[in-house]
Each structure stands twice: as C-alpha cells, then as structure tokens.
Symmetry: C2
Subunit: 137 residues, 2 copies
DNA sequence: GTAATCCCTACTAAATTGATAGGAATAATA
DNA sequence: TATTATTCCTATCAATTTAGTAGGGATTAC
C-alpha cells in the first residue's frame, strides 16, 4: 500500500509545480486545496526539502518551491524519499540491499527472481515519469 | 514491502511444486527445509487451501498438494490471496476499488495516473508468471 | 486406540502509520 | 522595534498491521 505520506507528498509536489509563480507556495494553501492535514503536510514537505527536492523560504511570505524544473524531477527520487525502497523486498533493492537471513543462495530463490522482475518494471515507470508528467506542466 | 506471509507462502508453493510425488507435502517438512516457523506456516497454507490454490489431506500421512499444474497457477491469483490487492492504492484497484474521500475527480489526480501505470506493469509481470516459472518445473 | 497431521481460535509484542500539540526560529513589514 | 506569518523541530499518541506463539479439536492411517 502507498502510504498517506507519499500520496500527500505527490499531491503537494504537483500543486507546487502547477503554482509556478514568483513567490513560494505555503503549506496552508496546499493543505486547504488538497484536503491534507496541515501539520502532517508540514512534516512531509520538510522531508522533501531535506532531501533536496524542495527549497524553502522562512518567515512571512515564506513557503516552498521546486529546486529543479518539473521535467527534471524523477519519480525514482521522489518515491525513494517519500516511500522508501522501490523494491518489495530488501534482497532485490538497489539502494538498500540486505541479505535474507533465511536464504542460503538467493540466485536460487523463487521469490527473489519474481521480485527482481517487479522491481525492474516499477523502476522503468518511475524512471520515465517526471513531475512534469504528473502535473501536466 | 512484501510481507513475510507472502514470502513464506511463495516459498512453500515452490517447495510443493518441486516435491511432485504421490503423497502430499507436510507442513513440518516445508517449515524445516525453508526455515519458516511452523505454526506461522500452518496458517498461511490454510489460507492458500481456502482460496482453492492448495488442496489438503488430513490425518496421518496428510499434507498439502497443488490443485492445478504449476504452469496453471498464476501469480496474480497467488499474490491476491497472500498479499491482497496488487494496486498500491484502492482507487486504481481492479478487484478492491475504493474512491479516495479527498479526491473530487480521480481522472485529474496525479497520483492516480502514476499508480495506474505501476499497477499495469506489475499486473503484466504477475499475469505472465506461473508457479512453474518460479519453481523451474 | 494411538500417533500424526491438518484445522481453528485466541492471544501477544513490536513496529508502523497517521496523525496532533506546542513552541522555537526566522523573516517581512508597519 | 513590535507584530505577524511562516517554516522548523521534537515529542507524543491511538489505531492498525505484522509476525509470531499457544493450545487444543478434528480427522485419518495404521
């Protein structure tokens, strides 16, 4: 299941991409428009900022803005920040690999083989999709 | 993340497929060989039996067996029984559709569009993979 | 009748999720 | 300088899910 965090994060990014203006976009504005609990969204945008996807401006008239063009922001990066590893199981994760304690030889593991395929297909989608595709910008 | 339940279930099915003999395969045998807690595995195999993928024989010399040839057992069915919906979000689920309470028009939702693509790609993998592919039988 | 096996229910500890609360730090502006 | 609006940070919490354990009933082979 996609977490609410990821869902809200994607919606917020889309909203920001569509609000391309001079001034940054405020959390309250996004929260209200997308029906997301504001305090929850605050934390999500903070995560996105710390990961380098968003920039922020503090204080009055502050808010968030994209650090790159929407067409440069790939879903692989966004999803890894929000949802974590793309692989469904650590033993096939490119970025968070971990051996299965119960698997003597993973090249003979049926689950491993299947999950490699799922991962590759999902990766292909995320690599070929940018925020521009999501937001229509 | 793939649950342990699903991982164990897939390994057990693979084991049973590879043990094609006259007599059914016993839980204890699978648990020992695949390093799965036996009581936990019992419940998983029960689920697979109730869903019609496995058959069982009770009593002494009892155990579990496949109801179809491995090449007839599709991953779509297995995954739905073990892991639940294949879609990452209910609003793109074919079998467990649910509207997002916060989404006025899902055809304009960026998350929706992305998750449809992921779902289609994952479905393609599961539709084209059978237990025979997993077990090499 | 005994032993082995599946079947079923109930329980539990730990982790995760989806928040909420309160306030510190910062910046614009009157 | 004081006020206000905003991001930033930490802590807490309730509900749910996950992974597993426990105990015993029902059924079958021998």
């Amino acid at each position: 299941m996609l977490s609410k965090k990821t869902k809200y994060g994607l919606k917020a990014l889309t909203f920001i991409a569509r609000s391309e203006g001079d001034s940054p976009v405020q959390v309250g504005e996004i929260a209200k428009s997308e029906q997301i609990p504001q305090k929850f969204l605050e934390g999500i945008l903070l995560t996105l900022r710390k990961s380098g996807i968003l920039g922020s401006k503090k204080g009055k008239h502050g808010g968030y803005y994209l650090r790159q063009e929407p067409s440069e922001i790939k879903m692989t990066d966004v999803m890894r920040v929000l949802e974590g590893p793309i692989a469904m199981i650590p033993c096939v994760s490119l970025n968070y690999y971990e051996k299965c304690y119960d698997c003597p030889d993973e090249h003979q593991c049926s689950v491993h083989k299947l999950m490699i395929e799922v991962r590759d297909n999902t990766l292909q989608v995320f690599r070929n999709t940018t925020l521009a595709d999501l937001s229509g910008v």
